[in-house]
């Protein structure tokens, strides 16, 4: 087949529009909804409080998606596998955390100090549990298939996803389970320009930011960074250079699992309802976030998570909840069309 002829004789104004869209189109697309609703707010209420409320809710919800998305992007960045089980590892994180409430005797009546110490302990145990689980999944399901066609580990990933979902199903049953609202998450802490900031918001953002920062710093400062990039670029060459590829990949899964566990606990505290199916929904959204931000790119995953959180909340509030998934994925399509490598660019073997 011949290559399609490229139209090189574009008229000047058209070309200008084209390059403008190429540069700023994405930002325009992303700003359409907030700007339109912001103008609407100004006209009807005379202020931007309602929009601000949407964005705060969006950022705190998005922070949880971001933590899950980082796990997706880490794994994809290094072995180019969409780890479908990742969302379910996150769900198991929530369940473990809920179980540990009971073990540590945490109830709504527990005092502030007890709660802080208890929750920190819950966080550590949960992160350990999900981190180990993720490493185990890699060891059992993906490592033996390293030389196999790419489809093989993809199928084991789907398999693990279903397996974990059914573990969750046996654990807490098929319905959404209310968990104790330990931190009284809806309590308003302070109000900025009419926008209420709740304890849940503060928790989600204050816990996510240091976790992501620690994870990225750990990767950058330790020798893992070089090892990971080398492994991602060319596993064979990395091995020849004396890098232990298997250990590097295991560490990556550990890191992803640890973050998923933290996200699981934050989710349980923030939503106060856990469900075996939450991992499927979260996984879909987090994967979308990772792609939106540029798969393999850690900052991109965080950005994607926050953006999707905001889109969801704005849509829930203004358009109607039945349209929210449609709008989220319409945005994904638009972003892919304008910038196929995602907002901040891919960082994978193929992308170089």
């Amino acid at each position: 087949m011949e290559a399609a002829p490229v139209n090189v004789t574009k008229s000047a104004p058209l070309a200008a529009v084209g390059s403008f869209l190429g540069k700023y189109g994405l930002i325009l697309v992303l700003l359409v909804m907030p700007v339109a609703f912001g103008i609407d707010d100004l006209r009807t209420d005379g202020n931007l409080t309602a929009l601000g409320q949407n964005l705060v809710a969006g950022l705190s919800n998005g922070a949880i998606w971001a933590l899950v998305a980082v796990g997706y992007t880490l794994v994809y960045g290094i072995i180019e596998l969409i780890n479908f089980a990742h969302g379910d590892v996150f769900m198991i994180g929530s369940f473990v955390a809920f179980g540990l409430y009971g073990v540590f005797g945490l109830t709504v009546a527990t005092g502030a100090l007890g709660l802080a110490v208890g929750l920190f302990a819950v966080l550590l145990v949960t992160m350990f549990a999900t981190g180990s689980l993720n490493v185990l999944i890699e060891r059992v399901g993906y490592r033996p298939l390293r030389g196999a066609p790419k489809l093989a580990p993809l199928i084991t990933a789907v398999g693990f996803s279903f397996l974990l979902q059914n573990v969750g199903l046996l654990w807490l049953g098929g319905s959404q389970a209310g968990v104790p609202n330990l931190i009284d998450q809806a309590k308003v802490v302070f109000t900025v320009a009419g926008v209420d900031i709740t304890r849940g918001d503060i928790l989600a953002l204050a816990a996510t930011a240091p976790l992501v920062y620690l994870a990225t710093t750990f990767i950058r400062k330790s020798r893992l960074d070089k090892a990971m990039r080398a492994t991602a670029q060319d596993p064979e060459a990395a091995r020849l250079m004396g890098i232990n590829v298997d250990t590097t990949i295991s560490l990556t899964f550990l890191l992803g699992g640890v973050l998923a566990g933290a996200a699981g606990l934050i989710y349980a505290l923030y939503q106060t309802t856990v469900w075996f199916f939450q991992g499927f929904t979260a996984g879909l959204i987090a994967f979308t976030a990772a792609v939106m931000g540029g798969i393999g790119n850690l900052k991109g995953a965080v950005l994607g998570g926050l953006i999707i959180g905001c889109i969801q909340q704005i849509s829930d509030n203004r358009v109607g909840q039945e349209w929210t998934p449609v709008i989220v994925f319409a945005y994904l399509i638009l972003i892919m069309v304008f910038k196929p490598s995602g907002l901040l660019g891919e960082e994978t073997r193929e992308a170089g």
Binding site: A57, L169, Q271
Partner: protein
Amino acid sequence: MLRNRKLAIGAVVSALALGLAACGSDDDDSGGGSSTGASAEEVTVYSSLPLQGASRPQTTAMVQGIKLALQQQGGKAGNTKVNYKSLDDSTASEGSWEAGQVSANARKAAQDDKAVVYIGEFNSGASAISIPLLNEGGVPQISPANTAVGLTTDEPGADKGEPEKYYPTGKRTYARIVPKDTIQGAALATVMKQDGCKSIFILNDKEVYGAGLAKNIENSAKEQGIAVEGNDPIEKTAANYRSLVSKINADCVVYSGITANNAVQLYKDLSAGLPNAKLYGPDGVAESGFADPKEKGIPASVGKKIKVSVATLDPDEYGPEGKAFFADFQKEYGERNPDPYAIYGYEAMKLALQSIENAGDDAGNRERVLEEIFKTKDRDSVLGTYSIDEDGDTTLTDYGIYKIEGGELVFDEKIQAAPTE
């Protein structure tokens, strides 16, 4: 994506269920082949209810009610021995009724020559699937809990093509002993009016039951002069409803749907986002799986703000038969305050047994039993005196309003509401 997954699961489940049904039919044959139409010494009554998920405590109480009714008559209707088989129309993964499971149950009953009555389903959306299957099989069906209007009539709240589309043979085979949602909608509007609601917001779960009842509430509220600010659907899979709730300005909010569609999260977000709003719910959430924090339901602090309607009254509000039921139930199962639908499970079986007995020598003939069910006139029952009309609806209209206190549903008042036409 989600839809596809559900379909896939549905397909697998129905395949499994078909396999099970095939195995089950062996047992049925072993009883000796008495064909429909001949006189029978033994007949079977099936029930199909969601025995897993959020409604489990409720349906467990219903099955206990059904068993109690049969046991009190020594397992017999007149001279005919009655066997009871309890089927589950839910799957663990759905946490509520599931289409494939419902149709498998309906087919199982339709293919069993000895089946003369099918008690079910619990959910209106599920009955929308089983009614046509049982209708074609000619199996008389009694629902102890369905309230959706469109299952029996085309009154307001029904969708286009309802109810005809459920009865392919053109003959009615379905009766229910719970007042339908034109009445429940009016009851909810009445209680909201009483409580001083000037404006309300309705949220529905998009199911046959939830979306239909939402329309009934809307109509009745408007008729009673209450402003309806909106009637929005919710997504079952949403992580939370915070921003959905923040757009509501009404002083009262009512959710029209079932517990399994994320009602616990919704009410928590409603309570947090609208601290001063009064909250209401229908019989879809009138169960301990919703009300009791120990059953993973809502916390007590949210429960205090909610009133729910269900067509069951306080034992004291019933006549002697009703009072006797609650005493017997407590004696048998040690439960003083059973989930509200226990009494409907009991009465569904009682009505089935009475109809089988009335059919006399033709007890094994589905058509005759069906005739007897539709002949029900001024029946003195635990629920009060009622008749079954030509649509299969009960003539009862009493709705009870319950408060939630410390995880328990506590009877508050009786509402007698006239349906909005």
